[in-house]
């Protein structure tokens, strides 16, 4: 053996191969099937380049971000039930977006994501203020939960005081989370921010490994808790904030994916980061594809709903497994 740690390359290669196979298939699948072996479909190039490719790119971007963010959050909180949503950034970004509907500003192209990013950024600032320099992980988590609860309450208030039924319907539909009708504009917004977040998570990875031994042991190994806290706030903020800004609320990816990946790694948070990003991208790509294909009256199934439907039983199974282990 040439390293103290297991080699993550085979898993990474497998996931990359699966993505390489899934991506072209996802481009062909939809209400209009485009097959290279069938008669040409009218407007096939436009469907591929303007509808399906940006949608697939967005699925890959958001999935990768949420998968890696989930792995990092579970490492940071040393809790397999942790999720990027625990920081309260997603509900705060959603509140920002809802306010853009409420005020009618969403009609202009960039205002909805801008409002969402401001909401997410506000949550990041608030977290940093509350947790402060000396705040421990427990205080930080509680602050995140408080922000999530406050943002949720204000979102409900905005819905209940909605100026007209059209805005109400827009808000509720948007909150469900989806990739339908998204284009290159959304990719251009989310991709660089998510990539920046992923780079920050990679920089935090050794500290997350050390944290597996507890806070004091991690500090004795040279981890600066304040630097780690800021890296986590910025990384999760960029990934989750930009995700919510372009696609609404998409939950459970960050919770489920690291669990699926962890048994195939040596369990260090850093060794789950890249595979979780790849598996998250794969999961969102497949889930979005299935949403497109499901025959449903009244439009396609919203991606956020589909993932919640799949995620809730997964979460329950996880809880039962943990209960058995604790018994």
């Amino acid at each position: 053996m040439t390293s103290a740690f297991s080699n993550p390359l085979p898993l990474t290669k497998t996931l990359l191969t699966a993505l390489a196979l899934a991506l072209p298939l996802s481009l062909l699948a939809g209400q209009v099937w485009i097959s290279p072996f069938s008669p040409p479909v009218p407007n096939a190039t436009a469907i591929l380049m303007e509808l399906r490719l940006p949608r697939a790119m967005l699925a890959l971007t958001l999935g990768a971000g949420l998968g890696a963010a989930g792995a990092a959050m579970q490492g940071y909180l040393r809790n397999p039930l942790a999720d990027p949503g625990l920081f309260g950034i997603a509900p705060a970004a959603a509140l920002g977006a809802v306010l853009s509907f409420y005020t009618g500003y969403e009609a202009q192209a960039f205002t909805l994501p801008l409002f969402a990013l401001i909401g997410g950024g506000g949550a990041m600032g608030l977290l940093a203020l509350i947790a402060g320099r000396a705040g421990g992980i427990a205080l930080f988590t509680l602050a995140g939960m408080m922000i999530a609860s406050l943002a949720g309450a204000l979102t409900s208030l905005a819905i209940s005081l909605s100026p007209n039924p059209f805005a109400l319907s827009e808000i509720v539909t948007w909150l469900m989370g989806a990739l339908a009708d998204r284009g290159w504009q959304e990719v251009r917004l989310a991709a660089p921010l998510t990539l920046a977040g992923l780079v920050l998570l990679w920089r935090a990875a050794p500290a997350l490994d050390a944290l597996a031994l507890g806070e004091s042991a991690a500090r004795s190994l040279g981890v600066d808790p304040t630097r780690l806290l800021w890296l986590m706030i910025c990384a999760i903020g960029l990934i989750v904030g930009s995700g919510v800004a372009v696609a609404g609320m998409i939950g459970f990816v960050g919770l489920m994916v690291p669990h699926m990946i962890r048994p195939f790694t040596d369990q260090r948070p850093s060794s789950t980061l890249i595979p979780s990003a790849l598996a998250g991208a794969l999961l969102l790509l497949i889930a979005d594809c299935l949403c497109r294909l499901l025959p449903l009256q009244g439009g396609e199934l919203r991606l956020g709903i589909a993932l919640s439907l799949a995620g809730a039983p997964f979460f329950l199974r996880l809880l039962l497994k943990m209960r058995r282990e604790l018994a």
């Binding site: 390293s3 103290a4 050794p206 050390a210 031994l213 507890g214 004091s216 040596d266 369990q267």
Partner: protein
């Protein structure tokens, strides 16, 4: 030398001065709440004193970078918690985090650390499947993999049976013979008496006694600090305490 110079940490330590030398085993003893773990954390640079300084070879710890400090002082906390079910090899490998050495070099040092504590056979076992004694050795191997000059351990012998206590105490002795500084928080006074070269007794955050075990753990000191009448039995190196 690792030295605490008149350090005060509000409500926990008051004006504590202690000189710790490399090449010997120092035990920190005292009743519950005496400030033993706090002193160990301060010596490890994990708590910054409100007043006074901790120096390593004359240099204040606060002036060292976290990585430099981590390479020179290894710290083993009392809890021994590990968040994930890592293998022993992976756990010990975490001790290499402060170093920027090649994967091959790290692997060799990790193997050596495991071998020094008879853990080679368990290298690929998940940590949650180990017994208490095996787990305690794995945690210590993680500290040894850092190759620090100083090893500070908070109650490393607690919760071990007699045989494992003796075995691990022997490991600490051999580390001191390799010119490492070894500092242990120890509750068991007989262990401190038999295995330490130097003992610091704390009481209510102050140094009640320090020096050679026979002096620092004299029956008079035990009566004053622990409020117990006691008597040491046996020969030096094989002492037992009768209460």
């Amino acid at each position: 030398m690792l030295e605490a110079l008149r350090i005060t940490i509000p409500h926990r330590l008051h004006d504590v001065t202690a000189q710790l030398r490399a090449g010997r085993v120092t035990a920190i003893c005292g009743p519950n709440g005496a400030g033993k773990s706090t002193l160990l954390s301060a010596l490890a640079g994990l708590i910054v004193p409100a007043s006074g300084t901790v120096t390593l070879c004359g240099q204040p710890l606060a002036e060292l970078s976290p990585q430099d400090r981590a390479r020179r002082i290894g710290y083993l906390p009392q809890s021994g918690e590990v968040a994930w079910n890592l293998s022993v090899r992976t756990l010990v490998g975490l001790g290499r985090l402060p170093h920027r050495t090649s994967a091959a070099e790290n692997a060799a040092i990790v193997s050596e650390a495991m071998a020094s504590l008879d853990l080679t056979a368990f290298a690929d076992r998940p940590i949650n499947t180990l017994s208490g004694g095996e787990r305690a050795r794995a945690m210590l191997a993680r500290v040894l993999a850092t190759q620090p000059d100083w090893i500070l351990a908070d109650e490393p012998l607690a919760a071990l049976d007699l045989s494992h206590q003796r075995s691990l105490a022997g490991r600490f002795r051999s580390l001191a013979e390799q010119r490492k500084g070894v500092v242990l928080v120890v509750h068991d006074l007989a262990l401190a008496m038999n295995h330490a070269d130097h003992v610091i007794v704390l009481d209510h955050g102050r140094v009640a006694a320090q020096g050679k075990p026979e002096e620092a753990l004299s029956e008079a000191v035990i009566a004053q600090v622990w409020k117990l009448q006691s008597r040491w039995l046996g020969e030096p190196g094989h002492r037992a305490i009768a209460i």
